[in-house]
Symmetry: C2
């Protein structure tokens, strides 16, 4: 079973991408990082958890205040004193994502991890999408969002994620070119999506071994 | 084995998408349509094969001449006498793609089949991509394109396909939103890509059966 690959998961809001990532990590017996990255970043940076949660996966904006932080607090991340808070959080997360990826196979959700790890050779980048009705159903049944707000919330969250990706990864979110595997989860369900990714990763590891043996 | 699904394959030039489609059709024991659509369209329309090959998968252009064709020749496709030749060819192919899809499972490569069949419920839309080095290797080793021209030819062909899709499908080619499954074939190889699609289609048919039973 594939255990040496870092799998990044980008996901449309309401597509079940986070759950797919969690189940995939369980299936493969490897660590799963989503909000867990915030905990690690809080420890690493000296920022408060509230700061991280506020700016997590948000692009920098001139409207956002600049938090002055002593560079001494930022272990291993220097020269950030004058950056907007979002950029500081992005740099701290970049360091943490590279650190966890260097340790071995894991699943990382969101946060431009595909872009951050583009120099790593053991990475498979996945994008999860679904059709609008499935996403609305998930938002209302699982996330507890009111039916009347679901469509608007989906568009708001997708826009936020696309902006974040565009700002930090300098590329278009949701374009097949940026991923190894894009799956419409709504057509086959969560568990089958997990299996399709697990199989792709297995083939990927086989191909790497064969290439290494040449 | 999945036999009732129409699988459309869009593909970057040099990604092996056509070969993947052909092997998938053989594996599933269903018909394969790529250039075969031209033969059918020639029979259907009364246009010459040369006309079809010239404008196949090309967007309409004011520079292209309008061929005057007797509507009587266009069985089942009427009112086209004053359209540019590309649009006529697109309409003939649209009719043929709907006809072959209505007969049952098959694999159709290119020609906006995903857009043309969007009202069909038994369709899985696939996009095949690969990294540039793999595509250059395929162009030189398999298609016989000279190394010095490969990069340019890849960009020219991708642009042609993107324009064709944009013109007739009114949407962006290669955006995950338009497909059920996008695969980077270069990371896992041709045969593994065929297997990933076959498995997705199998899960898709299972999910359809389960939904129908509810």
């Amino acid at each position: 079973m594939a255990k040496n690959t870092v799998i990044t998961i980008s996901r449309q809001f309401g597509s079940g991408g986070r759950l797919i990532g969690k189940k995939l990590a369980e299936k493969l017996g490897i660590p799963f990082y989503d909000k867990e990255l915030i905990e690690l970043a809080v420890e690493e940076s000296g920022f408060s958890k509230e700061v991280f949660e506020k700016v997590d996966e948000r692009a920098s904006s001139s409207l956002l205040y600049t938090l002055s932080v002593s560079p001494g607090l930022m272990h291993g991340v220097t020269g950030m004193a004058d950056l907007p808070i979002n950029d500081k959080v992005f740099l701290v997360q970049t360091k943490i994502i590279k650190d966890v990826a260097a340790k071995g196979g894991c699943v990382i959700v969101g946060r431009c991890a595909d872009y951050i790890l583009k120099e790593f050779h053991n990475v498979v980048n996945v994008f999860i999408r679904s059709n609008m009705q499935d996403r609305i159903d998930r938002c209302t049944n699982v996330y507890g969002i009111e039916m009347t707000n679901a469509n608007k919330e989906i568009q708001r969250m997708d826009k936020k994620r696309a902006n974040y990706y565009s700002f930090y990864a300098h590329s278009k979110w949701g374009v097949a070119e940026n991923y190894d595997l894009c799956i419409n989860s709504g057509r086959i369900g969560i568990d089958a999506s997990v299996q399709v990714i697990a199989d792709y990763v297995e083939y990927f590891e086989q191909a790497r071994k064969e290439n290494a043996a040449k």
